[in-house]
């Protein structure tokens, strides 16, 4: 059964190729339970942790999952993300920095960083988001992106030490990736900063 052996070899190759080339993007969301958690309980379900996140989220005026102009304290997505990734007693901003470093595919905001948002259409898959991410990061001053496929909202972190990119540049990056770009909200346009 030499062909069976060959097939097995190729299957192994394919699987190894996939595994070797993959960053485990879910790791940050599976952080073990914190000191306040009961045995087997995840931070996201931990009442003490949730209380802390309520506080640390308040410190940050705006996050990637907030709608334009909306405070983090009103944003359920941000609280959930913080609870799942912050260690016990850890400041939210520190935790976010670590998460960003560990998970390059899902960048998250660092406090006080200006952001812009772009409404996009036609991004139907995670790989599509990656294409848009690559184009946006070619723009001078863009430090990170966070793409909410379900709502078609692209959030872009901007370097405060560089000129804010033009709205058209951000739209063109989305269009270059093969998608439709609509309204852009720049930091000076009522981002809530």
């Amino acid at each position: 059964m030499k062909y069976a052996s060959l097939f097995g070899l190729m299957l192994s190759f394919v699987l190894l190729t996939g595994c070797a080339s993959t960053t485990d993007t879910t790791a940050a969301k599976e952080t073990p339970a914190c000191a306040s958690c009961a045995a087997g309980e995840k931070c996201a379900d931990c009442a003490a942790e949730a209380a802390k996140c309520e506080t640390c989220a308040t410190k940050n005026a705006k996050c990637a999952t907030c709608a334009a102009g909306k405070k983090c304290t009103e944003c359920a997505g941000e609280k959930k993300e913080a609870c799942a990734t912050c260690a016990s007693g850890e400041a939210f901003s520190d935790c976010k920095k670590k998460t960003e470093k560990a998970d390059k595919s899902v960048a998250v905001p660092i406090s006080d960083e200006p952001i812009a948002t772009i409404e996009a259409k036609g991004m139907g898959c995670p790989l599509c988001a990656s294409s848009a991410d690559r184009r946006l990061k070619k723009i001078d001053g863009v430090t990170w992106t966070n793409i909410d496929l379900g709502n078609g909202l692209v959030t872009v972190g901007l370097d405060p030490n560089k000129p804010t990119p033009e709205a058209e540049d951000l739209q063109n990056a989305i269009r270059d990736a093969g998608f439709t770009a609509d309204a852009v909200t720049l930091p000076t346009e009522g981002s809530g900063e």
Partner: protein
């Protein structure tokens, strides 16, 4: 009449009806069913500008050739590497390089034989001429496919001819549903393939007419934290050659798509086949990995 009918395993259905059915499945489903990219057929999706995607597929096919001068039982492996690059907002270039291995048993005239070589290389230029993005993930797209099969001149594998290709592909995505339809015609200018085993090996022109439906199993809804998706896919793959051979396969499968890579696996099952000039498919499987640079 194809050799496949001699043992009564398949139901006799007019070829025109089968192809009409395949196309109807792909193109005329109700508006509630739409598309994602599937594994074994072209789609109207392509890398973004200056984005580079490498795809590696490993396909195994178990075939049988009962013709008096046929190749007996055939185990065929195809290791295909695809390099795709986004040339602009609406265009992309793709190069397919297939390595082949086949193992023949009870073949005529040599009872047992093996071969390993490079099949013809396909260069495709894809131009998107229609795009309508109607929601955050909802889109309808169509592309024109043009290409050329470039001979590898590997004896026993290459047709040793330059064969033009032209076709169209349509993709529609709406929510968790995806739909693809494609037609690709190959003008076979010559054929010097000593082993006419699989589709396209003969000197006849060849048509691929495919349709697929995909359903996103997980997540139910995308969020900003989504890093990957699982899909079920069901493909109907039609193959027709102007020498009269035709074949329809059902290819269900699964696909995982992350933000930088994708893994896909499908099984190929013959539904109907009437083949006089090449081997019949018993079953096949295709495993693939895509990586975005």
């Amino acid at each position: 009449m194809g050799a496949s009918f001699s043992d009564g395993r398949f139901v006799r259905v007019p070829a025109s009806a089968v192809f009409a059915g395949v196309f109807a499945f792909a193109a005329f489903l109700p508006p509630s069913a739409y598309a994602q990219q599937s594994t074994d057929m072209p789609a109207a999706v392509q890398p973004g500008w200056e984005v580079f995607v490498v795809r590696q597929e490993t396909q195994y096919m178990r075939m049988d050739d009962p013709r008096p001068d046929g190749f007996g039982s055939i185990d065929m492996f195809e290791f295909e590497t695809t390099l795709a690059y986004g040339l602009g907002r609406t265009s992309a270039l793709m190069v397919h390089v297939p390595l082949m291995y086949w193992d023949l048993e009870d073949a005529t005239p040599a009872p047992d034989a093996q071969g390993f070589g490079v099949d013809d290389i396909t260069v495709m230029y894809q131009h998107r001429f229609y795009r309508e993005d109607v929601g955050p993930i909802e889109t309808r797209r169509a592309v024109l496919l043009t290409g050329l099969e470039v001979p590898s001149f590997d004896e026993g594998f290459s047709s040793e001819s330059f064969d033009p290709l032209i076709g169209v592909a349509y993709t529609r995505i709406d929510g968790r549903h995806g739909l693809n339809a494609s037609a690709l015609w190959k003008f076979n200018t010559n054929a010097n393939d000593d082993f006419e085993i699989e589709f396209g090996d003969s000197s006849a022109d060849a048509l691929k007419l495919d349709g697929s439906y995909l359903y996103r199993l997980d997540p139910e809804a995308y969020t900003a934290q989504t890093t990957g998706s699982h899909y079920f896919q069901a493909q109907a793959l039609g193959r027709y050659e102007t020498n009269g051979d035709w074949q329809v396969m059902f290819a269900p499968g699964w696909m995982y798509e992350g933000r930088q890579w994708a893994f896909e696996a499908t099984v190929h099952l013959p539904v109907l086949q009437e083949l006089d000039s090449r081997a019949e498919l018993e079953w096949g499987v295709n495993l693939g990995v895509r990586y975005l640079f």
